[in-house]
Subunit: 166 residues, 2 copies
């Protein structure tokens, strides 16, 4: 996934992977079975500079030139958030756990909770993350990945982040 | 979502919808708040003829000409399944609950469980559903929807379905 390019890890995660429907394989769908207690375990801790605070990434689908998407489950500890960034092909967020924040440049911060669906069209600068007191997990679907990935910008400062408390 | 074209319902569901990042709206992201106990409630019962058994659909993202995807959470009661079908633009399934079955034409049935990720490239005939004894929920992401939606074919007969018990 272009969004979090330095934190790719499909191995060592509690995840089933089924790569099926492959025309070039006459055998049963290739299935990787690993133990799973949650739908999408939180994965590996992100160590790049595109985030503030503790963030975990479980890469469900790497950038795929057939489907033109990438998919990752991302978990933010309280207070954690992305940098400002935009997606050349857009992104859709499905909030699966907790309570978080979403803001596009020049607009107020929006609270997003479990069950929220957020559409981020191409080239719109924004950030997302947990609230100061709650963790938040979303499935992030990068769309139109054939036109490009995420462009990372400056961190969300504490002053910017705390605007939602005012 | 073209995949389940007769069962669209975004209203009356326990779901948050945030349509944000809209260039044409200078105000706060448009947020629809409804109570939510589960990440994605099961939605409305499907009443068309593209399925066998009891199936529910929660349409998270209608076919979107900006992102070129559609997204639905689909829940199958034990024994329920799609008809045979294929997707002109492909589809990715994220299994979020339970235990189900997936088969592409000419290949054995594959068991898919919570945490599974299934890639169905364009134009590959297949079906998916619950096992005979378990329910199954997946988030279904229709990809490349700009090239077309699902093409629905014949039901999966009981004889075909029971092959996984042999």
């Amino acid at each position: 996934m272009k969004t979090y390019p330095n934190s790719i890890s499909l191995f060592g995660l509690s995840l089933f992977i089924v790569t099926a429907c492959q025309l070039d394989s006459p055998s049963q769908a290739d299935v990787e079975h690993k133990s799973a207690q949650h739908s999408f375990p939180r994965g590996e801790k992100v160590t790049n500079n595109n985030f503030t605070g503790e963030v975990w990434l479980n890469y469900l689908v790497e950038t795929d030139s057939v489907h033109n998407v990438n998919i990752g489950a991302v978990t933010f500890a309280p207070g954690a958030r992305t940098n400002w960034h935009y997606h050349q092909g857009g992104q859709i967020l499905l909030v699966t756990e907790g309570r978080g924040l979403y803001q596009e440049k020049g607009k107020p911060i929006t609270v997003i909770e479990k069950g929220a669906v957020v559409k981020c069209p191409p080239d719109i600068e924004h950030w997302h993350g947990a609230t100061a007191s709650d963790s938040m997990t979303h499935v992030a679907i990068g769309t139109n990945t054939n036109v490009g990935g995420a462009i990372w910008l400056a961190p969300v400062t504490d002053e910017e982040y705390r605007q939602h408390e005012l």
